[in-house]
Symmetry: C2
Subunit: 337 residues, 2 copies
């Protein structure tokens, strides 16, 4: 059950709805979000007489490890949490990926509630049940698919979000629009509740139609950039570059019309990272989506329509040329400054 409702985070109905999900509640959050919303949520749960504790970890992608999962499990076991636990993941994608994985394996699966606090996690990480941690430099390589029992999305939180966080979310929304909704692409607007609902619907529809793989548009290149930068480049920035590289690739393969590519190219924003095509290609060779040694990525047929229903094997030379093309966009920008 996904509820998108302004003010839901501080409402009584959130606690009412969680009450039946367990007898011991664990709010898991990162340190930043805990100080913003975690302590007050903890207090409201405790004021209702519910056994509740708050568990936090450092706010960064690097926390998404098997080690941090293990530390949280040890802390829960120490407090005698058992199969009647309810895990409440309060935060962005790092929190929901880590907590979702934890909930799916704790006592072989306990109740899970997601409260995404970033635009990105509202329209992406919270939908579809995928979770996981990173290992050996590969993102989300260890994890499960575990649907949350409740998801509460509070669009009011967007008003308080720093612009950099909103940008992250917008990039996934652009991706959703590119693969599935041409109209949405040209009117990504500011009525957040409606836009969020449309984005959730796109992601759910993709999953329902077994086209989940298409959600990886921009991500083959994006993940490689993230890994190569050792996660100093944000997921959003990396995916935006990925979207442009993979769009160029689609255009070069004769799939995407030139005018659509030119429109997508206008989204380009330089990031403080020097794009080394050879290193990026090397990282892509370890991608989870690879099959029989071939790099796979999602291709675009037009703005609003992905090609086929899954990622396609792509030629390494063409990928190389696409990376080089976008690399030159970086140079042009820095020259024009």
């Amino acid at each position: 059950m996904i509820l998108v409702q302004p003010g839901i985070l501080t409402s009584h109905s959130l606690i009412d709805s969680c009450q039946s999900l367990g007898s011991r509640f664990a709010i898991i959050s990162d340190e930043t979000v805990a100080s913003l919303y975690g302590f007050s949520l903890l207090e409201r749960f405790q004021n209702r007489g519910l056994f509740t504790r708050l568990f936090t970890f450092a706010s960064k992608e690097k926390s998404k490890t098997r080690e941090v999962k293990q530390q949280l499990e040890d802390a829960l076991l120490k407090e005698a949490y058992g199969s009647d636990s309810c895990i409440i993941a309060l935060g962005g994608g790092v929190v929901s990926d880590l907590s979702g994985f934890l909930a799916s394996t704790f006592c072989r699966g306990v109740s899970l509630v997601l409260i995404p606090t970033t635009l990105l996690s509202m329209v992406d990480a919270s939908i579809g049940g995928k979770n996981g941690v990173n290992a050996c430099g590969i993102k989300n390589i260890i994890g499960t698919i575990y649907e949350p029992h409740r998801t509460f999305i509070d669009p009011d939180l967007i008003k308080e979000m720093p612009l950099s966080l909103i940008k992250e979310g917008r990039i996934e929304m652009i991706k959703h629009a590119l693969i599935a909704d041409r109209e949405l692409f040209f009117q990504l607007e500011d009525h957040w509740q409606k836009t969020i609902e449309r984005n959730i619907a796109i992601k759910q529809e993709m999953i329902r139609k077994k086209s989940r793989a298409l959600l990886n548009f921009g991500h083959t290149v994006g993940h490689a950039i993230e890994a190569e930068s050792e996660y100093t480049v944000t997921h959003g920035d990396a995916v935006l570059i990925g979207i442009i590289v993979e769009s160029y690739l689609s255009y070069q393969m004769g799939l995407l019309p030139e005018e659509d590519f030119k429109r997508i190219e206008r989204l380009f924003e330089p990031i403080s990272f020097s794009l080394d095509p050879i290193a990026i290609l090397e990282k892509m060779r370890c991608d989870k989506k690879n099959k029989q040694g071939f790099i796979h990525c999602v291709l675009l047929q037009s703005i609003g329509t992905a090609f086929g229903s899954t990622a396609q094997a792509v030629d390494e030379d063409l990928m190389m040329r696409s990376l080089e093309y976008v690399g030159r966009l970086f140079e042009k920008i820095s020259e024009s400054r």
Copy 2:
């Protein structure tokens, strides 16, 4: 698909049946089983031109940890295993619990083949998909439920098994008979294929009827004994004591007729472990099955019939007296020697 067939381990059909499950095969085994069957199985896979590696760990219950799982994952990732992996768990319950958990979270779930090599794992660990590792002294507290894609049971292996291993398996078979099949209890015999098939059917039927919890008969006390002994007492020995304690408890509660209890009591065999009822009770307070602070255990109504369809809350005083009663059986035996 569960196949019970003499000679299946060394047959061509095993490899034929696995071939479609992945393009990279990983045989996971403990060191003992690897030397018995692992290297020859590896060779047969490789001779068929299939990319296959053998990964081993130390043969003991203490290997069932998050740390050993992580070491295996790192080893797989180093060899570039991805979402087209097929994990082949070759061994007893420790191997299948650890490998099953690993397979369920590696790339969010890859193919899993079980080849149980102990009687216990043939009739118990291999059936029903439960897996997991131990943490903070609690058995199987972190894990998932993940059905294997194939299970190959070779009754010929029993001929080569040490008697101590056969005993372990017989104790779970006694448990199955006690909770579900009076006739089987009085004729646990030596036609292994038939007996194994009947035991698998009992376990599957319990799961199908959502009475899976009944399979924990003897295990509330058994797990506590195992933990208290720091796993020096085998699972089988601990569960046999557990069966007798929980049967006495059922008898004291007026559920189990005296003559049935007396028959079950005859199964008693002393073990080299001094049963401290207070310490055992303390361990039971951390059992996964507990709800609202009460110790839960499965009760017996007669030989062949469990009480209700799940574990029941039991009185701590009565549990204490049952542990003391069985403690006195130990004393009697040592006096009579």
